[in-house]
């Protein structure tokens, strides 16, 4: 340590501050350093989670508390009334069912189409292959509002305005580029010798895809599916354009049910918002290990 400092003071004179920080950091996992790590993480987690936690707490309180200048409710002010009120609202039930149908169908459609496309990109050589992938990914860069104007006209021509099918197709198209790219990364990692061996045994391409590639890429398929599901569940913009009546409205767009021009029923709005986020948070909790890993490494894999 001492020699280290000596050599560097020779290099420059005004390093003393940096040296002090260095010396402090170099004590590998001293209590001080562990404390610093916990402080950073703790402050950040509080910043991330406190607002959400506070909203969730507020949903279990009566308006008496919510519209009072107090931060903590009394025990007597805790109630499930808000949940009863929101869950028994017919339109909210309908939006919830719509959201579930749209997000599930979008995920299935994207996974099927994306898996086929990714297999093609990963295992076949043909003219235009890299151009196709490039143009798929390029669509991610487009301002959605630019796409939206002619998109509306196309959907109108196809008769897909105000139909769940139209929303499902639109959401799938948003999910396919990244989904395909992620899946291709996972497929590329599977050794081709397995394909060859299966081919020798008389397997067709579809057999190979279904029996070898898909089972071995389940983590990747999970990540792509999760990504597509939340993309669809959370979308506001496309639903706001495509949905004209309550029959096709999904939750993010439907939350305005609880706010009118001038008044917001906060207790109901917060409860409905909590119910809207619960499915994606639960899914995240179940799959988080794969998702976090997949997102962290996916960027490096696909390239």
């Amino acid at each position: 340590m001492a020699t280290e400092t000596n050599t560097r003071t020779a290099e420059s004179t005004d390093r003393s501050f940096a040296d002090r920080i260095d010396a402090w950091l170099a004590e590998d996992m001293s209590p001080k350093r562990a404390l610093a790590v916990y402080a950073v993480i703790g402050v950040y987690i509080a910043f991330l989670l406190l607002p959400v936690a506070y909203m969730m707490m507020a949903t279990f309180t009566s308006p008496d508390f919510l519209y009072s200048p107090r931060l903590v409710p009394a025990l007597g002010e805790l109630t499930l009334d808000n949940y009863v009120a929101v869950l028994s609202t017919g339109l909210f039930q309908q939006y919830f069912v719509n959201s579930a149908i749209v997000a599930t169908s979008t995920t299935l459609l994207t996974l099927v189409v994306g898996t086929l496309a990714a297999y093609s990109l990963s295992r076949f050589e043909y003219f235009g292959r890299s151009g196709l992938l490039f143009s798929f990914l390029g669509t991610q860069m487009l301002p959605r509002v630019l796409v939206l104007i002619p998109f509306f006209l196309v959907m109108f021509t196809l008769g897909l305005i105000d139909s769940l099918l139209g929303i499902i197709i639109a959401h799938s198209v948003l999910g396919i580029p990244l989904g395909t790219w992620l899946l291709k990364g996972y497929f590329d990692d599977i050794p081709r010798s397995l394909d060859e061996a299966a081919k020798m045994d008389g397997c067709s391409h579809l057999d190979i895809l279904w029996r070898i590639i898909v089972p071995m890429s389940l983590p990747g398929i999970t990540v792509a599916g999760f990504y597509t599901f939340i993309l669809s569940w959370n979308d506001f913009l496309f639903v706001s354009i495509l949905s004209q009546t309550a029959a096709t409205r999904t939750l993010p767009f439907g939350l305005q049910l609880f706010q009118s021009q001038n008044t917001i029923a906060w207790e109901l709005l917060l409860t409905a918002a909590t119910l809207t986020m619960i499915p994606v948070v639960l899914l995240f909790a179940v799959f988080q290990q794969w998702v976090v890993e997949g997102l962290a490494t996916g960027g490096m894999k696909g390239s």
Binding site: T3, E4, T7, R8, I21, D22, M29, A34, V37, Y38, V40, I41, I45, L48, L49, P51, V52, Y54, M55, A58, Y67, P69, V113, L116, A117, S120, F124, E125, R129, M141, L142, P143, R144, V145, L146, I149, P150, F151, L153, V154, V173, I176, T180, F236, L237, I241, P252, I264, L269, T274, T276, M277, V281, F284, Q288, V291, L295, A296, G299, M300
Partner: protein, 306 residues
């Protein structure tokens, strides 16, 4: 394959190989066809039409009737002060939000990569803001800052400070929108950067330590260069996301108060779906697309040169 070709003459072998090649290619195209059709009809065709529309005057109310106006939309754009303000807000929002996200994400990544007990739990918790629907995030922030009994105002009031409906306050609304971007996306940077840091072999640090490099130098000469590729991916992705984002601004302030938070995406939406000026809206969209393409190409080539 090999057994059948061994016996036959060369021409037959070539034909067989060519057939197989054709079959393979055909299947390759067939498998990607569903994706290609969906992408072309729903995204690529509308985009090309959108670009074409930028040179026409067209109303959403009567889309059949379109008049070619050449560069008139672009001239209108240059003269439009609201457009110039929206462009400035968009650039400011993107640069401030992405810089903050990157710096905070880097700090958080350095903390998360440490092997302290419990770091794994924090790692998984942190991504939760990223999966929340944007509308839910906006409702949370609006609730926290609402004028009546929002928790932020309760705290400010009890400290004897000014209370207000902060999203309606010029000068505060914009920083709040930056804050929401930071809140939502920083964990994503942290997770990606942490993964990149962890893939750097420990031996490099050991060698550097033997050569007398302190932690700061190790960070500068070992960590930073090796996370620069992931950094580029994260920054490009989020610049594009922030620059093009519509929901966060539209749902929280709608561009107000007094146009203080108007960005290009919300301005286009209003031009197209409230003023029905499709051609003009499309030309602003094309301008956004060009800016993003130039940005991506310049950044990627700078990165490649290093």
């Amino acid at each position: 394959m090999a057994t059948s070709t061994d016996t036959g003459p060369t021409a037959t072998r070539y034909i067989a190989e060519f057939k197989e090649f054709l079959e393979e290619t055909w299947l390759g195209y067939a498998l990607i066809l569903p994706a290609a059709i969906l992408m072309s009809v729903i995204i690529i065709y509308p985009t090309l039409r959108g670009i074409q529309l930028a040179f026409f005057e067209a109303s959403l109310l009567n889309p059949e009737q379109q008049t070619f106006v050449g560069l008139q939309n672009i001239a209108q754009m240059i003269a439009d002060t609201t457009f110039r303000e929206a462009l400035w807000h968009t650039v400011l929002l993107t640069s401030v939000a992405v810089s903050l996200q990157y710096l905070l994400g880097l700090g958080l990544a350095l903390a998360l990569k440490e092997k302290v007990p419990g770091a794994g739990l924090f790692r998984s918790l942190s991504m939760i803001t990223w999966v929340l629907p944007i509308i839910v995030m906006v409702i949370v922030f609006r609730f926290m800052t609402q004028s009546g009994f929002g928790p932020v105002n309760i705290v400010l009031g009890s400290l004897g400070m000014e209370t207000a409906a902060w999203f309606g306050r010029p000068g505060v609304a914009f920083p709040l929108i930056v804050l929401m971007h930071v809140w939502r996306n920083t964990p994503f940077y942290a997770i990606a950067l942490m993964a990149a840091m962890r893939s750097i072999p420990e031996t490099q640090y050991e060698a550097a330590r033997l050569d007398g490099a302190g932690p700061l130098q190790q960070f500068r000469y070992i960590t930073l260069p090796q996370i620069s590729y992931v950094s580029m991916i994260m920054i490009v992705l989020h610049v594009i996301f922030t620059f093009n984002n519509f929901d966060i601004v539209y749902l929280s302030t709608g561009g107000g108060p007094l146009g203080n938070t108007e960005v290009l995406a919300t301005y286009i939406y209003k031009q197209a779906f409230q003023q029905y000026a499709m051609g003009y809206a499309a030309s602003i969209g094309v301008a956004m697309l060009l800016i993003m393409m130039v940005f991506t190409v310049v950044y990627a080539s700078l990165e490649a040169r290093e």
